[in-house]
């Protein structure tokens, strides 16, 4: 209110164009003094993972065993055991058989905890996404997700163990 009276008094004692300029300055100043709004910036929760086109380096036997052990047991394999497994792999000509026998041996271990089958069937998409991330460190494409979902739902014998077996033995899993 006081500001308004002072403004009227000034207008009376100054030429008309001065008043107009002062009014303009006042309006700008009053806008500039408004409290700054609180703005926060966030990143959208979009996970970026490598695609399979980038995987062109073949894992060594030691790397494959170490990674599959970690993927399944969520813990690393001791170095001496890793060395010994690699020796056994060398002693078998068909490495695909060695991988398959080792994996099925892992699945026989009592300390391995797998997703229950009913949990997989209750939310197959979540299971598929988690499996792709676990083994391939990427999300499935929509086509892959659809195929694997339909495959799991239409094959009553499929268990998480067999799905993990398929992923663990797959070609993509041999590369990084």
């Amino acid at each position: 209110m006081r500001d308004s009276k002072a403004m009227q008094s000034m207008l009376r004692t100054t030429p008309p164009y001065y008043g107009l300029a002062i009014l303009l300055l006042w309006s700008i100043a009053s806008v500039g003094c408004r409290p700054e709004p609180e703005v926060t910036f966030e990143l959208q929760g979009l996970e970026v993972t490598p695609g399979f086109a980038d995987k062109d380096r073949l894992k060594t036997n030691e790397q494959w065993v170490a990674i599959v052990h970690t993927n399944l047991f969520q813990t690393g394999m001791p170095a001496n055991e890793l060395y010994n497994v690699a020796r056994v792999f060398e002693s078998i000509g068909d490495q695909s058989i060695a991988r398959e026998v080792l994996l099925s041996n892992f699945f026989n271990q009592p300390d391995l905890t797998l997703t229950p089958t009913d949990e997989m069937l209750a939310d197959p998409d979540a299971f598929i996404d988690a499996t792709y991330l676990r083994f391939y460190t990427r999300f499935p494409t929509q086509a892959e997700r659809t195929f694997v979902r339909e495959f799991i739902l239409n094959n009553p014998g499929m268990t998480p163990e067999l799905v993990y077996m398929s992923f663990g033995l797959s070609e993509e899993y041999r590369y990084y």
């Binding site: 086109a53 060398e90 041996n105 590369y175």
Partner: protein, 450 residues
């Protein structure tokens, strides 16, 4: 009219698609062997077993039967390989047998020696004085100057020739190694672009695979139901592989069919059980690695009845530092061959009287000793001089003349690489191997040199 044209196109499309599908389903049966028809050569034996009597064997203590006479300056000749060669064993200074000091020679297994049953090439030339070079000459039929250790054979191996040109399946050709050292596991196929892993022989180093280490990681493997569990698992794997291969060129397996893989896995399971139960078909004496290796080789024969198996022995390499142990190993390698031949004839009816045997060292050993003395104060021998290029080859069984001796110290006949060509000859792919032109010059079947 338009409708009729569409119907015609549709019929043509279905017809072409059907033909393409038929082609795809037939192609895998053509491509693995690379040919449509049977090999051109005559197969004169159903099965061939080659023993790489390896580790470096001196002529003097083996085919020449001189025992200590030509090595330690002690006048005691004699034959310590009496399953292979005719001749009486030494009577004095016995150290190669069992028991304390090796005083008890191992009794012969065969009632008739390999020499009397077959043909001995008494003096053949080795292509290399080294183990890996020598073994490469046995599997490739050549040595390549650029061939390095820890490197796949540069030229195709006999396993690949047999599979590619003879149409043999992966479980029809086997390499049983004495271990995983000295690049032995690399010998089951070459890096040659026209052959390679797709034509490889199956391989086990059984003392490792079925030893305590292998037992720890492999023996507890599950056996899945082939239809209810394995079939969908492989189907999903195939989908995943197709997705990956659409953008990459991953591949490179041995080409075992799914049935063959199941058979190999079942064999492994059976071996772990036999090791656990103590029911392996082992030689009567089993006090070194070669004898265990041969026991597993017999198990491979019993299970798969392969067309070709090569088994590698190597305990005689102890000769670098211990001559007495070398003599014992030589005696045991002979014992191992006796067991092998005996079991083929008596315990594997599908192979009895239908199998050919080839035994040959990959290289010899020096004429002069080094300075290392053993417990009997006998000097040891390395392998680097011209005596290291002296070897022998023993053949017996189907297609091999009996009681024949070819060549002598003064008249060498044959090369170590000829063993590979002889296998190719017996199994009907000799002309294809010769046409490939990748064996050492002059390499030929021993049967053509009799």
């Amino acid at each position: 009219m338009k409708k009729s044209l569409h119907a015609s196109n549709r019929r043509a499309f279905i017809k072409k698609a059907g033909l393409a599908a038929a082609g795809i389903s037939v192609a895998p049966y053509i491509l693995p062997s690379g040919r449509l028809f049977a090999p051109t050569g005559m197969r004169s034996s159903e099965h061939v077993v080659m023993v790489a009597f390896a580790g470096g064997v001196r002529q003097q203590e083996s085919v020449l039967k001189r025992y200590l006479d030509d090595s330690q300056g002690e006048p005691y000749p004699g034959n310590i390989m009496y399953n292979l060669f005719d001749g009486t064993p030494p009577e004095n200074k016995i150290v190669f047998g069992t028991g304390t000091g090796g005083l008890n020679p191992i009794p012969s297994i065969l009632s008739e020696t390999i020499e009397s049953q077959g043909t001995i090439f008494r003096e053949v030339s080795a292509l290399s004085a080294g183990h890996f070079g020598g073994l490469n000459s046995l599997v490739q039929g050549s040595t390549v100057t650029t061939q390095g250790l820890k490197q796949r054979p540069i030229n195709p191996t006999i396993f690949e020739y047999l599979r590619r040109h003879g149409g043999y399946s992966a479980t029809d050709v086997w390499f049983v190694g004495n271990g995983i050292g000295n690049s032995t596991p690399l010998l089951n196929h070459s890096a040659h672009p026209d052959y390679g892993a797709a034509y490889a022989g199956n391989f086990f180093a059984p003392t490792v695979t079925f030893g305590s280490t292998g037992n720890q990681f492999m023996a507890d493997a599950k056996i899945y139901h082939p239809e209810n569990e394995l079939a969908p698992m492989y189907k999903l794997k195939t989908f995943l592989d197709l997705q990956f291969q659409s953008l990459t060129s991953a591949g490179g397996s041995l080409g075992n069919t799914e049935d063959e893989k199941q058979s190999i896995k079942a064999f492994m399971k059976a071996m772990y059980a036999k090791v656990s139960d103590g029911t392996l078909d082992l030689p009567p004496v089993t006090d070194n690695g070669d004898l265990y290796t041969m026991g597993f080789a017999v198990e491979v024969l019993k299970w798969f009845k392969p067309a070709f198996m090569m088994v590698n022995l190597s305990a005689v390499d102890s000769c670098h530092s211990n001559f007495s142990n070398y003599l014992a190993a030589l005696h045991r390698a002979d014992h191992a061959v006796g067991h092998l031949w005996n079991r083929i004839q008596t315990a594997i009816p599908e192979m009895a009287n239908q199998t050919s045997l080839i035994c040959t060292p990959e290289c010899g050993r020096n004429l002069s000793p080094n300075n290392i003395l053993d417990q009997n104060e006998w000097l040891a021998f390395d392998h680097s001089d011209s005596n290291s290029l002296r070897a022998w080859t023993a053949l017996a069984g189907t297609g091999i003349p009996a009681g024949l001796s070819v060549g002598s110290e003064a008249n060498p006949v044959g090369r170590v690489s000829d063993s590979m060509m002889t296998v190719a000859d017996l199994l009907g792919v000799k002309s294809e191997v010769q046409a490939a032109g990748m064996t050492a010059p002059g390499t030929m079947s021993l049967l053509d040199q009799i």
